[in-house]
């Protein structure tokens, strides 16, 4: 596979959310505002890129039986670094995201990529694969967040789009709405779009 194929494969063909149904928990939690989704997505891309390449770099040294412990340790370390950097240099953003950053540690996509790809492939390929998976995740988050923020708050990226006449759909702000939006999205991709692209 070329580098481009690796990226397209992990970002779209094997998209973590719609094809592997991974990372759903955070996709439900942070998608009520677009800004939260974007920073969460960037955090995941950063963590995936670094953890995948680090795990790939030492893949031959990691004892098979304890590999998951090692992966968790490495992922957690990078997530804490992201958290510290945000706290020190972007305190406003850190405050807005609160616990979500720490929750990147439990994002199954990161460990999924470590297990499925980084453990068997060279570091640069693994980094591209990680970035691809992160981009695929971010794209889905942004789509859901656009729908939820528009109907829940009448705004996009915090900028009011719909006027005073608009009655906010409170359900869109709460987690259950993400289930509906996500399910419809997955259905559209697996139904009409998959039929067109030819899977």
């Amino acid at each position: 596979m070329t580098k481009k194929e690796i990226f397209i494969n992990s970002a779209f063909k094997e998209n973590a959310i719609w094809s592997q149904i991974l990372g759903i928990c955070s996709a439900l939690a942070v998608t009520n505002l677009m800004m939260n989704s974007l920073v969460m997505g960037l955090g995941v891309i950063f963590t995936l890129a670094l953890s995948s390449s680090t795990i790939s770099l030492i893949r031959d040294l990691i004892p098979k039986r304890v590999r998951m412990m090692v992966q968790t340790l490495i992922i957690a370390s990078y997530v804490i670094i992201v958290d510290l950097i945000l706290k020190a240099y972007m305190p406003q953003m850190s405050k807005a995201l609160g616990p979500y950053i720490g929750l990147i540690i439990t994002n199954c996509i990161i460990m999924g990529r470590a297990e499925a790809f980084a453990g068997k492939n060279p570091p640069l390929d693994s980094m591209i694969d990680g970035i691809g998976a992160g981009v695929g995740y971010t794209v889905v988050l942004m789509v859901i967040a656009t729908i939820r923020e528009l109907f829940g708050f009448g705004s996009l990226f915090g900028i009011q789009i719909l006027g005073e006449w608009f009655t906010r759909w409170s359900i869109m702000v709460m987690a259950p709405s993400a289930f509906f939006v996500l399910a419809v999205l997955i259905w559209i991709i697996h139904g009409p779009i998959a039929a067109k692209v030819g899977k």
Partner: protein, 208 residues
């Protein structure tokens, strides 16, 4: 052929590997923590001081010097509180309060009159309520409702009554956030609990 075993085939190798990798990554984190600690702490102090000055409607441009000129830090039963002084006259007190919200502890700062009977202003410092619903307790329209309200009515502490968002509120009523009754109630309850405790200890302390 025991002596031909390489290091990686030995039984203790996984343990050794874990120890080494843990030391490396914990070291990395400790370094990052040390590098960012001062900035994080400085920022925390700055936010705290700015909040206190804003609660007393004092200018925040010359943060440190204004803070030093007006604010005295005090302790009461191991908890900090702040007295704002304009020369010799007391402007009011300010104290950090906290209570459990829907998801986690809510931390707030409240400024009161020198007689401890009237709220000057409150500000929510930290909360983890549902974004867009309970998270709105930080918004000005909600916290602003407390400004100027009496804390003590005919000798007893006031527990504010919650009414719906669009009803006109009386002196002992607060408009709650629609869809976030629990978070609104948490703020009102913690104010009642913490303030009556503070009033009692301070009055007892003054009497002794």
């Amino acid at each position: 052929m025991a002596e031909a075993k390489s290091l990686r085939e030995r039984r203790f190798y996984p343990v050794l590997f874990m120890i080494i990798i843990t030391v490396i990554f914990v070291g990395l984190l400790a370094t990052f923590y040390q590098l960012t600690r001062e900035r994080v702490e400085a920022h925390r102090q700055m936010v705290l001081k700015t909040t206190i000055l804003q609660l007393f409607e004092l200018p925040t441009v010359d943060l440190q010097s204004t803070y030093d000129a007006y604010i005295q830090e005090k302790m009461l039963d191991g908890r900090p509180y702040y007295a704002a002084m304009d020369g010799d006259s007391l402007i009011g007190y300010c104290l950090p309060i906290s209570g459990s919200g829907l998801w986690s502890t809510i931390h707030a700062m409240v400024a009161v009159s020198p007689q401890l009977d009237r709220i000057r202003k409150i500000e929510i410092l930290e909360q983890n309520e549902t974004p867009g619903l309970g998270g709105r307790i930080t918004e000005e329209w909600f916290t602003g409702q407390f400004a100027g309200k009496m804390l003590v009515q005919s000798g007893t502490a006031v527990l504010f009554e919650l009414i719906t968002e669009d009803e006109p509120a009386g002196p002992m009523q607060i408009n709650q956030i629609t869809g976030a009754t629990a978070s609104s109630k948490a703020v009102v309850d913690m104010l009642y609990k913490e303030m009556s405790g503070f009033q009692q200890t301070l009055i007892q302390g003054a009497a002794q």
